[in-house]
Symmetry: C2
DNA sequence: GTCAAATAGTTTGATGTAGAAATATTATCG
DNA sequence: CGATAATATTTCTACATCAAACTATTTGAC
């Protein structure tokens, strides 16, 4: 892929890899979004419901951490999910600063309706890679994602 | 990484790879953003200026394509860049539907002030991978990003 | 016990994002 | 030539996103 930048060999290599990584995830997510595998949920809403489904009820702060988003927008996302009846807020009686978020029956039902199709779409997309290629990609991503320990 | 999902082996493998890829790019971008290598530009603004810098003046639609964003928000991004004096709009005399976007002197200066640090940060982040690992990652991303030809 | 610091969540303001409908302009078909 | 289709951009609406300032509550140091 062209980078149109004249730098050292290491710089060229890095930019090239960075661009490929970025384009890969961008177009992968674009294709998934086209297939509309999340029903009418936004990606954030889906991520929150999925976290609650697999990991159980959590405080709002824990949800933020799991979903890797800042606390300030978690409020909005959960506001909207609550409005649609998919989650329920409950203030902790012991520590009244804390708010627990629970999946409602409707939320569970919603997610169970969506999840199989979503997974099928992922499997389909990744089927272009062999098992060992996926493993290789996973390991490289893990290494790069972890970053340097300083 | 735990997926908490009981599926077939292929499903598990896919989800595991998908999660690693997602986390990798998320935390990579988070670390880059922490280092503030884009000055006070937003990622979108930076991407637009960079495209204009490396590829020259373009129509607004071409910028959208290069930056992989929808046309409707390109208007806003370029509005803000124009407000800050980094780009200039110019309506095509021949086809008056078209708007050309040019980098101004201030925009060029801004980008040239930012680019070296940005590249250095990238090189530093990717230096955890060897040259051959980067190549491998790049190839896998290219393959996955391209998707199946249908 | 009281006051300061820490913690959980909300609000606000600026920006980005996508999709759909609207507008303006140009191209094309009959 | 004129109606219609295609193209480029904008507007509108809803949501997401972050940072910073704010409220409420709890904890800890003295």
């Amino acid at each position: 892929m062209p980078t149109h930048y004249s730098g050292t060999r290491a710089e060229m290599r890095t930019l090239d890899t960075f661009i490929k990584l970025t384009r890969c995830t961008n177009s992968l997510f674009a294709r998934l979004s086209e297939q509309n595998t999340l029903g009418d949920l936004t990606p954030s809403q889906f991520a929150v419901l999925e976290a609650l489904y697999h990991l159980g009820s959590m405080t709002q702060g824990e949800v933020s951490t799991k979903v890797l988003k800042s606390g300030s927008n978690m409020t909005t996302v959960i506001d909207n999910l609550e409005r649609d009846g998919f989650v329920r807020r409950e203030r902790d009686a012991k520590d009244r600063r804390v708010i627990y978020v629970h999946l409602t029956g409707a939320g569970k039902k919603k997610l169970e309706a969506i999840l199989p199709g979503h997974i099928a779409a992922l499997v389909e997309e990744f089927s272009i890679l062999s098992a060992s290629e996926m493993e290789m990609l996973g390991n490289l991503c893990k290494k790069l994602g972890k970053g340097k320990i300083k």
